[in-house]
Amino acid sequence: MSLDKGTVKRVAQLARLRLDDEQLEKTAEELNKIFTWIEQLDEVDVSNIEPLASVTGHSLPERMDEVTDGNYPDRVLSNAPDRASNFFTVPKVVE
């Protein structure tokens, strides 16, 4: 598998990364090396193996339905670049 510049550009856009032409070129090269490395896994025959979502085989730990967290808006907002009273504020986004 080989990634062209167009695909890399699209992936970068989806990840909200702005790459110039030179960076695109370089990133494509790097990603292709990573792909080549991962593609070695294709040599393993997995035709009789069920796909796994987790390797441990454990099940999900659960929590009781009890309210024991929250009520600290100042902590939640402490890293906000901009706020108005207890709201986060961002440049206007209307669809």
Binding site: Q13, A53, L60, R63, D65, N71
Partner: protein
């Protein structure tokens, strides 16, 4: 039979699929222990997990899992003992994680169905799946000229997304489907069904085709928040698509918004590229596994659901289908009715609950839970109507008194001396005196002016202050005038 829309080129069939987002009734969120209550101060019900602070890990709330299983059983669906949480990736300011935890390939609930009652009978609507996912925060765009305000209280609250098959063929059917689903989750207590507060929201997929042909291209109308709007949006959208196609255009698959003020749908500002959510299993969460014993335990604890209750009301209480459908839509109404009607006249009770009590409650803007008249008390009013203690007419006055004072029917009847007069001797005296007071009218009546009979009945009832048994009054008048 499916109803078709007429276009210039002939009949068109509407094909509709609905995605309903139902907020799970739980104290805490799906993956954090912050509260879910509606209407709290901004960002006060947010944990560091919900705010997506680095290093925070989600831990699932077992009650949300139980609620999803219960809802799955309520829609006759297959429960998957093994399911997987995936990340759905997109950027939006009210989604701090940069992804929504959802279920993609392996949802907790698989195929099911529900039955809807529409004008041409009962129809089965298939359900594709139900999965658990996180809600996003809330953006407000009208607070500031250049900024949007973000409140994360809703971020991380558990949602059930319930996806129907494209089995729905009209706005009426879509409305009946949402109504039935809402009724079921409310019976189960798994979602409060409050569409105004956004606890139940619909995305509507609409396409049109010539009957019997392949499915057309669909448009998705997002976030429609009332049953009436669902119907209006479908009717508008189907018309729009038919006109487009008949004018030689094709339909673009796109997301649209319904504007309730104008009653139309319009394209959401087009995104440069289609969404690519890049789903993958969430590495922070192991697969969700439980055994069949849990499902059986939940199944054994299910309340009687609206369809079963409706059938029972028709068979056991001999109610009409229309009465039964109305009474079972809300669990509270059905329970009120049973308390009121058991051991009493079933049809009379259904009428009084449906007409008098709901009429009075609506007028005062009260819910059934706030009714000043209890089920037991209204039931006793039914008893004294049935046994002839008071007439139906007097009963309406007594009802008004009960509604105002909360007093018991019998107390009011005794205090005001409203007991119906069913003693033939006493009524006979009243009849005699009306006849002797109105000699000229009696003569006219005997000369053939039949409609004067009503006048005599009125006079006797007036003399009895409305208390005379109307049937006896009629019989005795006929007898003495004839």
């Amino acid at each position: 039979m499916a109803q078709f829309l007429k276009g210039e080129t002939g009949d068109w069939e509407i094909v509709i699929g609905l995605e309903v987002h139902a907020q799970v009734s739980s104290e805490a969120k799906l993956f954090s222990s912050a509260a879910t209550k509606f209407g709290a101060e901004p960002n006060s019900q947010v944990s560091l997990v919900d705010a997506a602070m680095p290093g925070m890990l989600p831990v699932i709330n077992k009650e949300c899992v139980r609620q999803a299983i219960k809802t799955g059983l309520g829609i006759n669906a297959k429960i998957n003992l093994f399911s997987v949480f995936d990340r759905k990736n997109y950027f939006y300011p009210d989604l701090p994680q940069g992804y929504q935890i959802s279920q993609f390939k392996q949802p907790i609930v698989g195929e099911g169905f529900l039955e809807i009652e529409v004008s041409d009978g009962v129809k089965k609507i298939g359900i594709e799946r139900l999965h658990l996912e996180q809600d996003a925060g809330k953006s407000m765009h009208d607070q500031h000229p250049t900024k949007s305000f973000i409140d994360l209280n809703r971020s991380g609250v558990a949602l059930m997304e319930i996806v129907s098959k494209p089995d729905i063929r009209s706005g009426e059917e879509a409305g009946a489907y949402v109504k039935k689903l809402r009724s079921i989750v409310r019976y189960l207590g798994t979602c409060d069904g409050n569409m105004q507060e956004g606890s139940l929201r619909c995305d509507v997929n609409v396409s049109v085709r010539k009957p019997g042909e392949e499915l057309g291209t669909r448009c998705e109308i997002k976030n429609v928040n009332s049953i009436r709007f669902v119907q209006q949006a479908i009717e508008y959208e189907a018309r729009r698509q038919i006109e487009m196609i008949e004018d030689g255009h094709s339909i673009n698959q796109e997301t649209r918004l319904f504007d309730p003020n104008k009653g139309e749908t319009r394209s959401m500002r087009s995104k440069e590229e289609a969404h690519d959510y890049r789903y993958f299993p969430d590495p922070d969460l192991l697969p969700l596994k439980f055994d069949d014993a849990l499902v059986q335990a939940i199944a054994s604890d299910m309340p009687e659901l609206p369809d079963a209750k409706r059938t029972r009301f028709i068979e056991e209480y001999e109610l009409s289908e229309a009465d039964a459908t109305l009474l079972v839509e809300e669990r509270e109404t059905a329970e009120f009715y049973e308390k009121m009607a058991v051991g009493r006249d079933k049809k009379l009770s259904a009428n009084w609950l449906g007409t008098e009590l709901f009429g009075a409650l609506n007028k005062e803007g009260l819910s059934l839970a706030e009714s000043p008249i209890t089920a037991e008390s209204l039931g006793r009013l039914m008893e004294i109507i049935s046994d002839g203690t008071i007439s139906g007419r007097i009963a309406k006055d007594v009802f008004v008194d009960m509604f105002e004072s909360g007093e018991d029917a019998l107390d009011i009847v005794e205090r005001k001396g409203l007991t119906q007069i069913s003693d033939a001797g006493a009524i006979s005296e009243l009849v005699e005196s009306v006849i002797s007071d109105n000699a000229s009218k009696v003569a006219e009546f005997r000369n053939g002016k039949d409609k004067l009979f009503g006048f005599f009945v009125g006079q006797v009832m007036k003399k009895s202050q409305g208390k005379a048994n109307p049937k006896l009054v009629n019989d005795l008048l006929k007898d003495k005038l004839g």
